[in-house]
Each structure stands twice: as C-alpha cells, then as structure tokens.
C-alpha cells in the first residue's frame, strides 16, 4: 500500500482541473484558476486529461446534461467539485485533493461506473433539430433524417457516418458537425457555436447560449444560485486578453495577463500596474505575435456597419488586442476615468463573422471580440 500511496501523493501534485463556468459565475472561475495554479496544478483542456471537474456555479438543465456527459468521459481517478461561490474554492479543492488520494474509492468507482457511453438508439444527435441545415443534407445517400437512421452501415455503434456537402469550390466534401463551447478552454462562458466543418473550415455556424440565457425569461443559473454580479471592466478585459494570448500560444504573456487580472481582482493596485505595464511591453514588442494575429477578422468601417458592431472593434485581432491593453492600462493606472464603452458585440452576430474561417482563426476571432454575454455587459461604463 505504501508504494501506491506514495504514487498517489506524487500524482496529486500534478492534478489537472477541467473548469466549467456557469454564465455569471466568473468570480468563482477566476478564483479556481488562481488557486489551482498556486497549488502547482494546471487546467485541463478536455475531460481526457482531467482529474477534477470543477463546476463553478449551479448549472441549468441543459448545461447539467453536458457536465454529466463530461463527467462520464473523465478517465478516473476523478473527482467532481461543485463550487458555488469564490469563498468555498479553497475548501472544495482541498476536499478534491483528499479524495483523489483515496485509491480504493477510485477502484470501486472504476468498477461501478458505466464502461461504455450511452448512445440513444435514434436520438437527434446533438439534441438540436435546428442543426440539420437543408443545404447540407442534399446528398444522394438516404440517411432518412436524424430521427431514424436504420441502415446498419450508415451508423456503426449508433453514430452516423459523415456525409458530403459542397464546399466553396463546388467540390463534394464530408461535413463534420462540431459544437464549440460551452466547455472549451478560453471560450466565453455559456456560448455555444455549432459549426459545420469541411476540413478545418467553418462553412456554417449557429450561435446560442446554453440554457437559453439572455432570453427574456431568466430560468437558468440566475435562479439556481447566487450570481456574482457585474465584473469590473478592467478584470474582464484582462481575462479576455489572457484568453487571446493563450490561444495565440504566447504562454509567458498570457501568464502575465492572468496575474494582472488576479491582482486587479483582489485590489492589489501596485502589482496590477506592474503586471499591466509588463504585459503592454511584451505585447507591443512581439512581432511574431503581430504576424500571427494580423488580418484575423479584419473589420473595416463598412464591415462594422454591416454587422452593426461598435467602433472599437475596428481593425484586426491585433488592433483589438492593443486597444484592449491600452484601456486596461488606463483603468489600472487610474489616471483618468475612461469613457464608457460603446457597447459590446451581440453573440448572435458571431456566426456571420466566423463563417468561412479556419478553426484556429475562429477561436482567435471570438477571443478578440467583447462578446455581450460576458458578465461585463452590466458593468459597461461603471467609470
């Protein structure tokens, strides 16, 4: 037992956490990220790599279903931590670490859990009928709709094969449907972008919010738990900058943005100012970063008008990054009250913006915009 105990203790030092943010619970998520790094843990990007599933906030019915499925995809040893407020993050992570050490528990869990996924016989795969774009389904093969694909060969293991659709050059290419979000690293909380892919190009996309938030009726997390309320604009912006830098792959700069965010959040103004200055220098100096963000979702005046976007979105992802860092500097420096922002980007326009882009550019494009579902929506212009 001693050896396996030692191994477990060693393993727990490198724990990876899959963080799920229920829209509105940004403060809990940031606290989780802060605390797991302090323990030497790291965030996981997919359930395959996760030991702990940290659910920040109380998910609504739709997100709950997704979280349950993610939980089923975790290899184990696995621990689920439901964290409802920033104050309980520390104790929840402590408890998770303790449970991770309990090898007999995980052996039992591994034996008793479902060993194979549950694939509904004739489910509407993805659970969203609106996804079956008419123009994608004109293939000569009879797939009989997603309601009843009876053909054995068409659906090995209960999942249909990919079907062809015309690409932009008129060639027939297989179409894959890949939903982006809501649980994806560096992705706006709650946003779901259902993409149709040919190769790695998004040929069609639909956006929605998980659990229908932002609809008129507030049925989801708002009722289910205490939402943290609006976030300070500078914190949100830092968070967005961190996401964009992390997706671009500049890890040191992303870490710097994360530290600036956490310093702003806990009100440590000097540390925040230092980190922001360093961030600003790094971002400006890196010509490689500029070359990788140049031209990503370039919006000129006409483009802004066509999509009804605010003026601060002008330019490409790199321009937006620089102007965002500039605003953070102004806000963190506290020199002058910054003028109110002229609104964010409504998430409904995202599909129009990203259709035709390659997957990597889609991620950079989304991360470069101030999307409206973000908690900052209420905080805009707080001074």
């Amino acid at each position: 037992m001693g050896l396996s105990g030692a191994l477990a203790r060693l393993a727990v030092r490198a724990t990876r956490v899959l963080v799920v943010e229920v829209p509105g619970h940004w403060a809990t998520r940031m606290e989780v990220e802060h605390q797991l790094l302090r323990r030497g843990w790291r965030p996981a990007w997919t359930p395959a790599d996760a030991d702990v599933l940290a659910v920040c906030g109380a998910p609504g019915p739709e997100l709950s279903e997704l979280v349950d499925r993610l939980w089923e995809q975790m290899p184990g040893p696995r621990v689920r931590a439901d964290i409802t407020s920033p104050g309980t993050v520390g104790s929840a992570l402590d408890a998770a670490a303790a449970l991770l050490l309990d090898t007999p528990h995980h052996r039992t869990d591994a034996q008793e859990r479902a060993q194979e996924p549950e694939i509904p016989e004739d489910a509407d795969h993805g659970g969203h009928g609106g996804m079956d774009h008419g123009e994608m389904d004109h293939g000569e093969m009879d797939h009989g709709g997603h309601g009843g694909h009876g053909g054995m060969d068409m659906a090995p293991e209960g999942i249909p094969l990919a079907e062809g659709g015309e690409d932009r050059d008129g060639l027939e290419m297989d179409v894959l449907h890949l939903p982006l979000g809501p649980v994806l690293p560096f992705w706006p909380a709650g946003l779901v972008l259902r993409c149709s892919l040919q190769g790695d190009v998004v040929v069609n996309a639909e956006a929605s919010m998980v659990d229908g938030r932002n609809d008129d009726e507030d049925d989801g997390a708002g009722a289910a738990g205490p939402s943290a309320g609006p976030a300070p604009a500078a914190v949100v912006r830092c968070d967005q900058v961190m996401a964009l830098l992390a997706l671009a792959g500049v890890e040191d700069a992303a870490a710097c943005a994360r530290r600036a965010r956490d310093a702003l959040l806990c009100g440590d103004e000097d540390a925040a100012r230092d980190a922001v200055e360093r961030l600003d220098r790094t971002v400006r100096r890196s010509w490689l970063l500029r070359s990788s963000l140049r031209g990503v979702l370039l919006l000129d005046r006409a483009g802004l008008e066509r999509h009804g976007l605010p003026g601060h979105c002008r330019g490409d992802a790199h321009d937006r990054l620089l102007s965002r860092v500039e605003r953070i500097r102004a806000e963190a420096g506290g020199t002058e009250p910054t003028p109110a922002e002229d609104g964010g980007v409504p998430w409904a326009v995202v599909p129009d913006l990203v259709t035709g882009l390659e997957l990597g550019s889609v991620r950079l494009a989304v991360a470069s915009l101030d999307l409206d579902p973000h908690p900052a929506v209420q905080a805009v212009g707080h001074g």
Partner: protein, 114 residues
C-alpha cells in the same frame, strides 16, 4: 553496422513495455474505458473519421516534386569536393530551376489556403 540500431530499437521497445507494465501495476483499473469523443459534452452527430478537406493539397504536390530531388542531393553532397566546380554548377542550376517552379507555384497561390 546495424546492430547498434537494432539494440536501440530493442531498448526503446522495452521502455514502452516497461511503461505499460508500470501503468498496469499502478493504475486504478487496467481495463480501458470507452467514451464518446470530447465535444464540450454534446453528442457527436457523426463519426469524425471522414474525408478531410486538406486544402493544402497543392502544396503537397509541389512538396513531392521537390522531395524526390533529395535523392540526388545526399549522394551529391559526398562527392562535391571530388568533382569540383562543375558539380556545383550542375546541381544549383537544377535547384534553381526547381526554385523557379516553386516561385511560380507560389504566385499561383499554391501556398495560400486560409
């Protein structure tokens, strides 16, 4: 001459076997788990194994053309000192012609596919 390589391959394979054996001893359950592919928790709508639209196929054709040339380049590298300037002229005229073709392919947009 190749015994060293064979020995190295054996070492490498035994490292793999050792790791898998260690894993078997240390893991909570040796039996692999079968799961759905990660799609943020959504059910997959179809199998991912499909005809992937590799939009850089033009570049791959140019690559093949150029790659075959390496067959000549390696033996040539060994004899260039012996053969003197004529070998250099011949090889780089050939490479020059290939590079012109690459430049043409580039102008035609073979390396731009975003």
């Amino acid at each position: 001459m190749y015994s060293g390589i064979v020995a190295m391959a054996l070492v490498a394979l035994s490292v793999v076997v050792l790791l898998y054996a260690l894993h078997r001893a240390a893991v909570i359950t040796a039996e692999p788990l079968t799961v759905l592919p990660a799609q943020s928790g959504w059910m997959p709508q179809e199998h991912a194994l499909s005809r992937f639209h590799a939009r850089w196929y033009l570049a791959s054709i140019v690559f093949l053309a150029f790659d075959v040339e390496m067959l000549f380049m390696y033996p040539w590298a060994v004899v260039v000192i012996e053969k003197g300037i004529s070998a250099v002229v011949e090889m780089f005229l050939f490479l020059g012609a290939l590079l012109v073709a690459v430049a043409w392919a580039w102008r035609e947009g073979a390396f731009r596919w975003a």
